[in-house]
Point group: none
Chain length 209, copies 2
DNA sequence: CTGCTTTTACCTGATATCAGGTAATAAAAA
DNA sequence: TTTTTATTACCTGATATCAGGTAAAAGCAG
């Protein structure tokens, strides 16, 4: 059997790279290439597709939603997600929405080939680095960073804009002393010595905005 | 003349894609491919290279620093940066460190080819989307950002780690009062109200590390 | 309904920051 | 060589932060 394969990626070079890679594989035939999910959704309505390799970060529709939409109507199509960087939660979300595998783009050619073969054989596949990402749920959850509450986030944001306690109190219609308490709570929560360290920490962890 | 070209990218598929693309170009010959900057630095010491296409987000050494290092010893090598997403400041930083161009990976094949040809002809080149990114200098960004001096950077870094003036003075073997002066100078230079705003500003503009 | 978290608020005191000034020496650029 | 910038250092005073404690009201979840 020959697997009719579609590639979806908004980077022409990546499409070209994968095409080259897959041309080695006997029973894989690339029937179409797309730069976004919309075109793909149209295509699969009128054409037979067995395998889809898709970038998860796509314009307009993201890969997770795209995967879900496709699987609802065409559960037999094997879908493998790809991205340059990733996080545990994103990979899990992709699989939970019906994805048959996830490959990081820094994977070697052999990894790519193995994953694709295993996926069409019915397995859920991950490239090596993805495996290490998802197999560290314990240590990550142990060092899980507590979240900022809504109010704390408001205050942290204003702090990052250089506002003083009094200015923040005025902005949020709070007492000076309330803001002071929030400040102290935030610093204690993350064990930070002062606002400078706190802001650096929050920005580096994308916890503002 | 044939241009000896090296590709640096930690994504095998991207390397493969660019290889395919460049194989069409008559006077471009790919002599080597690397997954990180370290291997490249070794290579150029012993071999002639005319053109380097590099991913800006690389493991261990980032593209900006890599470009700078290479250009210091080999100013004639044409270096083009690439990435999937980018910001104005990063592109500018890359060019300021000697880069001859910047291409977003979602560029079309034609864009890639044109940029490469123009770059080896001596131009500074940008792919279409990069042009739109850099041609929007917001009123804030219009005023070019003055650089931190070495000492100021040291102090700003320690501030971002939550150190107090006294601790910084001890760390750098300076007087408390000297550190205080530096702090004031930095705040004045960027017109910031306090360290929190300063750290946020510096981090957002990638001016620490 | 009953805990748990969040948000609000107050008091005090030690310490740090910020803003204003000045100025000598060294290094780099013009 | 002259000028500018960087780095070093000191003084003072007003204001802000940080750390300790306490506590009530509101909202949410078990």
């Amino acid at each position: 059997m020959i697997y009719k394969t579609v590639i979806v990626d908004d980077h022409p070079i990546v499409i070209s790279g994968i095409s080259g890679l897959l041309s080695d594989l006997e029973n894989i035939k690339i029937v179409e290439k797309f730069g976004s999910g919309i075109a793909l959704l149209d295509y699969i309505e009128d054409n037979t597709v067995d395998l889809i390799l898709m970038d998860v970060f796509l314009p307009i529709i993201n890969g997770v939603d795209l995967c879900k939409t496709i699987k609802q109507k065409h559960p037999k199509i094997v879908i493998i997600g790809m991205s340059s960087q990733s996080e545990r939660s994103l990979v899990m979300q992709f699989i939970q929405n019906g994805g048959n595998g996830y490959i990081l783009k820094n994977a070697s050619f052999d990894e790519f080939k193995n994953c694709i073969y295993k996926a069409i054989a019915g397995e859920i596949v991950f490239s090596e680095e993805v495996k290490t990402i998802i197999s560290q749920p314990l240590s990550e959850e142990l060092e899980r960073i507590p979240a900022l509450s809504r109010r704390e986030r408001d205050i942290a944001l204003l702090l990052s804009q250089g506002k003083s306690t009094q200015e923040i109190a005025d902005d949020l219609f709070l007492s000076f002393l309330t803001v002071q308490t929030h400040r102290r709570n935030i610093l204690q929560k993350y064990k930070m010595k002062n606002v400078a360290e706190l802001i650096a920490f929050l920005l580096k962890n994308n916890m503002l905005n």
